[in-house]
Each structure stands twice: as structure tokens, then as C-alpha cells.
């Protein structure tokens, strides 16, 4: 029985961590702009942008 209590505690903690992560993501506005972050990550940062 005691091992079940341990497992319950562990699983609920993991669940709570994910809930906290979700709330954090909502708070930082990640679900509001789904275009810019997805594209921003693809931009190559060059030391000196080449000229044409």
C-alpha cells in the first residue's frame, strides 16, 4: 500500500508540474501569436549580412 501512496504522490506532482508549465505558457502569450516565434527561429543570424 505504501508504495502506491508514493506513486500517487509522484504522478500528481508530475501532473501539477505540467499544469504549471501550461499556465506559464499561457501567461507568456505563447498561444496568442503562433506565427512570429515559428518563423523567428528560422532566421539565420549572420555576423555581417551579405550585400547583393
Amino acid at each position: 500500500m505504501s508504495v502506491i501512496i508514493l506513486l500517487l504522490g509522484a504522478s500528481l506532482t508530475v501532473g501539477l508540474l505540467f499544469l504549471a508549465a501550461f499556465c506559464w505558457a499561457v501567461k507568456s502569450g505563447q498561444f496568442e501569436d503562433d506565427y512570429s516565434p515559428a518563423h523567428r527561429i528560422l532566421f539565420d543570424e549572420q555576423a555581417d549580412d551579405h550585400q547583393l
Binding site: 501532473g15 506565427y35 518563423h39 547583393l52
Partner: protein, 808 residues
């Protein structure tokens, strides 16, 4: 004649003048070339590599002191979000943001100005947050820099008056909490279901479930409590009332079961229902961030204008304009307050305010009303009213626009009410039956009926169907304000159109030359002269005659009369009858421009707004099913064309003031008709609001539309019958999936009336019905959208074809 068309390297517009070249790259205008030079010089050419031709055309010049008002401390204070000793944070709304190149360039703004620390773009809202060091640059410089690279920030009076409301994320949090609790309760319920009699001790699990259900009961379900209470307060029983009743009964029953150790409770079913219903609500309430359905005149007005005080030009914030102020209105600027014209000659375009198609010429001493746009040169006004008392503002602040029109509640509330009465009937009968036979079973059977029979299936099918239909309509560029608009659009039986800008296309002019046919040489001469003026009629004559770059000598412009000049040794005059010496006034519909060559009148151009593509087939289609009305603020001169288009049964009314339009809609509604109003300007604002569904048309989503229930891309107007069709189908889908869900309800009721509803049965029935309803509504609405989708493809194909025809 085959011409090789070159398109601008910056904006992709067709280059009429191929002389503007830089590094072998063609540009349509000097403005585009300037932007390219600036970016190229600063090593920012990645802009052009991410997307081809990402820019916006730079043809219209922006006057250099346009942003001078940003130097004004009072205005600046209200625009910036945050400032400390070194840094300032400000957010600009930039309508031109449209692709990843825009994103890239704006976020590399620091390469163009060292004072800019960081720019963060919110693509969905088309906003850029700029953080800059005020010691090195200023708000005005940042705005001017953005303008110089083609991203002019739009700063309107609205920015000054109220801060944007914070985004409401509560529903999302509630959904997250409900999902977490629901999942864990499901998991923790397994031992209960599968341990059998005399199995393991499940007390711990039961108390954990109770603990986990508390956040759902107390926090996540708040949205339903609030809505049910709001309804009851107004004496209206909406669908949330029986749902709240079911939630409370389920919770109480489960609490009693657990505390008396007689059962495991129905926490899994309860949290599951709340989770699914919240998910549906989130889907249904998803809003279009880039659009605003509540725009008023403040987002249409600029934030500041130039006032002349003494001999100095000072920027002045709009609310500070008083009577007796002298204002300088530049070319293409809005008149912010009613005033008397004191200097310059005005040509005011009132089409947005009154629906009149033709610009109105005004002479010194005339009254110019707020909301008009000055089209020709700069003028000076002596204000006679403050902004808040001007004609346009009073139009907006009228009583009927302030009140929320009472709109019919959704049919699901009525259906939910019937459903609840039936359920209560069954409950009473069951209670009576058990009262005679076995009173100990009254409590379990009655609570079980109430648990199983909450109309959540109806609410689920409604919210998921509406959510999906809204997103389908959005994909086809009809953006509805909320789910209620779907139902009202479906009920439409009378469609009212505005004429100018709605049935007609402001960009599309039909020009006809009447008189002795012109030779090619004469046409080019007329075009060359017309090209010298920015007057809208001149532009249309130029487009009609074929633009060119023949030099014009002795160009002269007499405002309100016409233009003259010498082209290839001939004296050409374009203008009204008196200016060109024409004898009579031509009887024609539309504006008239006379042409004389070397003093001899050759005839006149008649120019009127053309009807939109596809209007004819649209009206033919609508005529069969709906009553049609056209309410136009314009003159009746188009009547015969319009009558032919609209058919004999349609009502046509001309010279309609905004108030007349509103009254007409009201009269139709009193006859019991459901009115759909399609309009575009401020003059339609009252009618749009009064009608059951008001849809405003826009050429592109950055344009300013009056408050309405929906915003429709103008090019998609021919799809109107298919939108209405889809909305009608939506009601059928809701009903069908509701009837389907009754199967589950009856299965549950079968167990419930016998007092044998086990938590396991409830836990299986609830998610099974919810998920199957979601799948069913999703696939049915996707199927229903097929026709709309096919028509939309056909529409784009037709447009490409007509475009190709027009070119060849």
C-alpha cells in the same frame, strides 16, 4: 501588342516606367527604390530573400512633418507604455505587417538606428513593440524610420483615449485546470472500477478524487455559474441553468456518497463534462485578434492635426481642438472638426460619411464637415465646433447606437428549456413510483436522473458546431463577431445593400468617351495632361486613355474647374463645361469631364463607379430567395441600371441619410422581417447596428469598418448565398447531433430511473457521448463547407480569367 511586364523588385507592382533601375533591379517608383537603397546600404537584403517582393508600394509620398506631433509631450505621454531614465517602451500598430520578411526587417531595426534596442513583433495583432534609448533617438525618429522603410505606424485617436483592454485568458486557465483534474480523477478511479467487491481499500482514492474535483467545482465551472445567474437575474432561463443544476447535484450526491461510504461518486463524469464544455466554449469564443468589431470614429480619426497659431504650425491633439482654431489640413487628410473654409479650395470626399460617390468641391466660406477627406492640395479651416460636437461625432453618439440592440436569444436555450421540463417530469414520476414501492431509492434515482439528463450534449454540439463553422467562414474571409451571428444570418429573409462601396467598387471606374472618337494621338495627349493632377477624375481619365510620360508644358490647375496644359504643341483642357467652353450639360449618370483641344470641344468622358465583379450573378441568385433593398446615400441617376440589376420587386431608395437607413431597417423589422444589412461606410453604421445581422465590407482587413456583426472581404461578396446556406446547415447539424446524443441520454436514463446508475456507467457514457458528438459535428460541418469551398475556388478562377481578359 506584346509587352514584357516587369514587376517592382520591392513591392511586385507592375512597373509602368522601366527607367527606374538600380543594380539591374526594376522599381515601380522612386519610393520603392529609396527603401531598397536604404536596406541594401545597411546589409538588410535578407528582407528580399525570405520572400519575393515583400514590400508595400511607396508611390504616395508622406509629408516630412507628419509625425511632428510625437514631439508633443502630452501626446507622447499617452502613447508610451513605460519609460525610465534610459529606455522607452512603445507599441505601434503597423497594418502593413504581412509576411516573415516584415517580421525579420522590423526585428532588425537596430541596424538602421543604434538607439533602437529591441523590436518584438506580434504578428497576429500586427503590432511591434519598440524599446529604444531616448538619449540616442526619439519617438518621432523611430516612427519616421519605420515610415521610411515602408512600415508606417498607424496612430489614431483611439490610442489616445483608452488603453487596449487586457487579453482575457481566464477561460484558458479554467480549461487547463479542468483538464488536469479530469485526467487525474479518471486515472484514480480505475482502482474503484476494477477492484471488485472486497478488493483493495479505495478510500484514499475517493478522497483524492474529492480533492481534485474541488478546483473544477469552484474555479473551472465559474463561467457556467456566471452565465446561469446572469440569465436568471433577467428572468431568462438559459441552457446554463440546467447544466449548473446538474453540476451541483452531481457534486452534492458524490460528496454524500463518499462521506457515508456508500459509493465512489461521479466526480469523473462531472469534471469530464465541465472540461468538454469549456473546450467547446473556448473554440466558439476564439476571436480574430487582428480585427475589431467595435471600431468607432476614434479609430478612423488621426491623433493630431496641424494648427496655425500666430505664424507657427503646431501639432495639436484632436481632443484639444476648440472652436475658433485655425487648422491646416494637408492633401489626403481627414477633416477632424466642422469648420469654415478660409484658405485654399477644397474637394472633399464624404463617401465614408454619407455614401455620396462624388467628391464635393467647396469654396472659401463654405462649411466643411468632419469625416470628409481632402483630396486636392492643402486647405485651412476655421473650426466652428469642437471634435466632440461635430456632425460625424454626433452621428456616432446617437442614442440608438449606444444601446445594445435586443437580439433574439439562441434556439438552443429554448430547446434546452423544453428538454429540462421533460427531464423534471421524468424525475417527478420516478420519485412518485419509488415513493410507493421503495422510498430508499428515491434519492439515488432522482439524483441519477438529474446527473444523466443535463443538456450538456446540446451545449456541446452547439458550441463545437459553431466554433467549427466560424473557423470555416473565417477561412473564406467572412469574420463573424460571435456564434450568435451564425444563427441570425441563417434566419435572414430580407437583404439590404448599400450602394456606394458595397455594390460598386470604389477602385473600379467605368469610363466612357462620348463625342467624336479620339485618335490614338489625342488620347495620349489627354492622358499626359491628366497624369499631372492627383484629382480622382484625372486619374480615371489617365487610366482610360493609357498612361504615358509625354512632357506637359504650361500646366495649370484651376480648382473646381479643370486643368489645362500644352502637350505636343496642342493646348488641351480637361474640366467642367464652363472651363472647356462646352455648350450644354450632358445628361448622363456619373461625373463628366469635358475635353477640348485647341479650344475646340471634342466631347466628354463620363465616369461612374463600376459594379463589383460577380454582382450580377449574385443578385440573380439572391432575388429568388430573398427580398432585396438598396439604400443609397447617392443621387438617383443610377436608378435605371440598378433597377435592371435588382429586378422589379426590389425596393430602391436614394439620397438616404444615415437616419433614413436606420429607420427603414426598423420599419422592415416591425413587419417581422429578419434583415441582413451589407454596408461599408460610417453612414451605414446605424443601419448595421439596428439590423439583425450587419456585415461590413472591406477591401483589406486593415481598412476601417464600422461596428458590425461581421467583416467580409469585398472580393468574396459573391459568396454571400453560400455563407447563409452554411449557417442554415449549422442549425441542422446541431439538432442532428443533439438527437444522436439523446441515445446516450436514454441509455443512461434507463439505468437512472431504476436507481442503478453506477459511477462506471456514467464514466463510460459521458466521454463516449462527448467525443462522438465532437467527431460528428466536426465531420458534418466539414462536409457542409464543401460547397462553399468549391464556389470559392470557382470565384478565384473567374477573377483570374477576367483579369487575364482585361489585360489582353
Amino acid at each position: 501588342m506584346i509587352t514584357v511586364e516587369t514587376s517592382c523588385y520591392h513591392c511586385g507592382e507592375t512597373c509602368e516606367n522601366t527607367n527606374i533601375l538600380l543594380d539591374d533591379k526594376p522599381f515601380c517608383c522612386e519610393g520603392c527604390k529609396l527603401v531598397f537603397e536604404l536596406l541594401n546600404g545597411n546589409g538588410l537584403c535578407t528582407y528580399y530573400q525570405l520572400n519575393g517582393q515583400p514590400g508595400a508600394p511607396q508611390r504616395s509620398q508622406i509629408r516630412p512633418d507628419k509625425f511632428a506631433f510625437l514631439e508633443d509631450e502630452k501626446i507622447r505621454q499617452q502613447l508610451i507604455q513605460f519609460r525610465n531614465d534610459t529606455h522607452t517602451h512603445v507599441t505601434f500598430y503597423i497594418p502593413q505587417i504581412h509576411c516573415s520578411s516584415c517580421l525579420w526587417l522590423l526585428e532588425h531595426l537596430h541596424k538602421l538606428d543604434d538607439g533602437v534596442q529591441r523590436v518584438t513583433v506580434n504578428f497576429a495583432r500586427k503590432e511591434a513593440q519598440v524599446i529604444f534609448q531616448q538619449s540616442q533617438t526619439s519617438l518621432r525618429k523611430v516612427a519616421e524610420l519605420l515610415t521610411s522603410i515602408g512600415y508606417e505606424p498607424y496612430i489614431s485617436l483611439q490610442d489616445l483615449q483608452h488603453k487596449k483592454p487586457a487579453v482575457n485568458r481566464q477561460l484558458i486557465y479554467q480549461l487547463g485546470v479542468a483538464g488536469f483534474c479530469f485526467g487525474n480523477i479518471m486515472l484514480l478511479s480505475f482502482p474503484e472500477y476494477f477492484s471488485g467487491n472486497g478488493g483493495m481499500d479505495t478510500h484514499l482514492f475517493r478522497y483524492l478524487n474529492l480533492l481534485l474535483s474541488l478546483p473544477v467545482f469552484l474555479y473551472s465551472a465559474q463561467a457556467f455559474y456566471r452565465s446561469a445567474w446572469g440569465g436568471l437575474k433577467h428572468g431568462f432561463m438559459n441552457i446554463d441553468v440546467p447544466i449548473v443544476l446538474a453540476i451541483i447535484v452531481t457534486f452534492t450526491r458524490s460528496l454524500i456518497d463518499i462521506s457515508t461510504n456508500s459509493g465512489a461518486g461521479y466526480f469523473d463524469a462531472m469534471t469530464g463534462i465541465v472540461f468538454f464544455m469549456l473546450a467547446g466554449r473556448v473554440l466558439q469564443d476564439k476571436t480574430y485578434q487582428g480585427l475589431s468589431f467595435d471600431r468607432d470614429y476614434t479609430s478612423y480619426f488621426p491623433i493630431a492635426v496641424t494648427a496655425i497659431r500666430g505664424k507657427k504650425n503646431v501639432p495639436i491633439a484632436l481632443p484639444d481642438i476648440k472652436e475658433g482654431e485655425t487648422l491646416l489640413i494637408h492633401n489626403n487628410e481627414l477633416v477632424p472638426a466642422d469648420g469654415i473654409l478660409v484658405k485654399g479650395s477644397a474637394l472633399i470626399d464624404y463617401s465614408f460619411v454619407t455614401g455620396e460617390a462624388d467628391p464635393v468641391p467647396c469654396l472659401t466660406g463654405d462649411i466643411v464637415y468632419a469625416g470628409g477627406r481632402q483630396l486636392e492640395g492643402n486647405i485651412q479651416l476655421h473650426t466652428i465646433k469642437a471634435v466632440a460636437q461635430s456632425y460625424l461625432t454626433s452621428l456616432w453618439n446617437r442614442q440608438e447606437l449606444q444601446q445594445d440592440a435586443h437580439k433574439q436569444p439562441s434556439f438552443i436555450h429554448l430547446l434546452g428549456r423544453h428538454f429540462t421540463w421533460v427531464v423534471l417530469g421524468i424525475t417527478v414520476l420516478t420519485a412518485a413510483w419509488w415513493g410507493f414501492h421503495d422510498p430508499s431509492k428515491i434519492w439515488p434515482s432522482v439524483t441519477a436522473i438529474l446527473i444523466i439528463a443535463c443538456p450538456c450534449a446540446l451545449l456541446l454540439s452547439a458550441s463545437f458546431t459553431n466554433g467549427h463553422i466560424l473557423s470555416i467562414l473565417g477561412r473564406h474571409k467572412l469574420y463573424l463577431r460571435n456564434a450568435g451571428a451564425i444563427e441570425r444570418l441563417a434566419a435572414t429573409d430580407h437583404i439590404v445593400f448599400d450602394k456606394t462601396g458595397t455594390l460598386t467598387d470604389k477602385q473600379k471606374a467605368v469610363t466612357v468617351f462620348n463625342g467624336q472618337p479620339l485618335t490614338r494621338h489625342e488620347r495620349l495627349q489627354a492622358a499626359a495632361l491628366a497624369a499631372q493632377s492627383t484629382h480622382p477624375l484625372s486619374r480615371m481619365v489617365r487610366d482610360f486613355c493609357g498612361s504615358n510620360h509625354i512632357p506637359v508644358k504650361d500646366f495649370e490647375q484651376v480648382t473646381g474647374m479643370g486643368i489645362s496644359g500644352t502637350v505636343m504643341k496642342d493646348t488641351i483642357r480637361l474640366g467642367n463645361a464652363a472651363f472647356t467652353g462646352a455648350a450644354g450639360i450632358a445628361a448622363t449618370n456619373g461625373s463628366v469631364v469635358y475635353l477640348s483641344i485647341n479650344g475646340q470641344v471634342r466631347g466628354y468622358f463620363s465616369i461612374r463607379n463600376g459594379y463589383r465583379n460577380g454582382i450580377q450573378s449574385l443578385i440573380l441568385q439572391l432575388r429568388k430567395k430573398y427580398q432585396l433593398t438598396v439604400l443609397s446615400g447617392d443621387h438617383a441617376r443610377d436608378e435605371s441600371t440598378l433597377r435592371k440589376l435588382m429586378g422589379t420587386k426590389a425596393t430602391l431608395r436614394f439620397l438616404q441619410q444615415p437616419q433614413d437607413k436606420l429607420d427603414h431597417i426598423l420599419a422592415l423589422q416591425q413587419q417581422g422581417q429578419h434583415v441582413l444589412m451589407v454596408g461599408d461606410g460610417l453612414n451605414d453604421a446605424g443601419a448595421l447596428k439596428q439590423s439583425d445581422t450587419g456585415i461590413s465590407l472591406t477591401e483589406d482587413s486593415n481598412n476601417f469598418t464600422p461596428a458590425s456583426d461581421g467583416i467580409l472581404a469585398a472580393a468574396n461578396l459573391p459568396l454571400l448565398p453560400y455563407y447563409i446556406q452554411l449557417c442554415k446547415t449549422s442549425k441542422r447539424i446541431i439538432l442532428a447531433s443533439f438527437i444522436y446524443s439523446l441515445v446516450y441520454n436514454f441509455t443512461g436514463l434507463f439505468f437512472a430511473v431504476q436507481g442503478r446508475l453506477s459511477p462506471l456507467t456514467a464514466a463510460i457514457l459521458m466521454p463516449a457521448s462527448s467525443i462522438s458528438i465532437i467527431l460528428l459535428t466536426w465531420s458534418m460541418s466539414a462536409l457542409a463547407a464543401k460547397k462553399l469551398h468549391r464556389k470559392a475556388l470557382q470565384l478565384t478562377a473567374d477573377e483570374d480569367q477576367s483579369f487575364a481578359c482585361a489585360r489582353s
